[in-house]
Symmetry: C2
Subunit: 144 residues, 2 copies
Amino acid sequence: MANKKKLDDIESGETIVGRSITLGEWHVMTFAGLTGDFYPLHTDAEFAAGSPFGGRIAHGLLTFVVGAGFLANELADYDVVAALGFGATRFTAPVKFGDTITPNGTVTEITPKDSRGVVAFDIDITNQRGETVVTSSMQVMIRA
Amino acid sequence: MANKKKLDDIESGETIVGRSITLGEWHVMTFAGLTGDFYPLHTDAEFAAGSPFGGRIAHGLLTFVVGAGFLANELADYDVVAALGFGATRFTAPVKFGDTITPNGTVTEITPKDSRGVVAFDIDITNQRGETVVTSSMQVMIRA
């Protein structure tokens, strides 16, 4: 727990990259059960085959929370007080079963306040072809 | 599938209320497994007992996605084309194991465009005491 990165150790523009993961049936069905969102584009292969996507895709929020969670794990190196929230979240491309996502975080703003400060990260989740599938941002409070 | 609510049937200020659900260990452990986020405030009762919350709390994003999913289910009455994204999401109060959440959506803006339009909803997720635990917003494309 010692030697964690403090506010002063963080620079605007620095990036963190989360572990990559392949999304598939398990993720989609687990998320459907958790959220009650069984929209057929995610859970009905016959329906999805006739959609513009040609097959089932992951819920946008599923891709977002997996990416955000994997990024949060990278924050274990930082002296984090709390995650404050997330900015606007956009689903920019579909994630099909078998696609592999990677979350990227870039520091955009550091706002010191007393013995701590808020660090804003842009979140960009990409697929195995380097295409962005989700954009968002997060605000994290870190000790000074 | 007939008689679904179209864009013209929606009025600014109208509200939808999603089903309520009690969050507990199953939700938190399922979400931890899905996202890789095993931060001890959520998964370690001993650690959490010593925190300002006095016990384990749900991940903020867990409360958000369950609330958003339960609201999305209410949109089955509308002629929805796609969910476009979510606005800034804030975690305003902790959700403890055994707390019951209810998602509320209020139409704030209707922007017609060609044969469809974007409907913006404010999202307010409350607990059993009526306290707001998550605020967010969502943009949904609906046929005219």
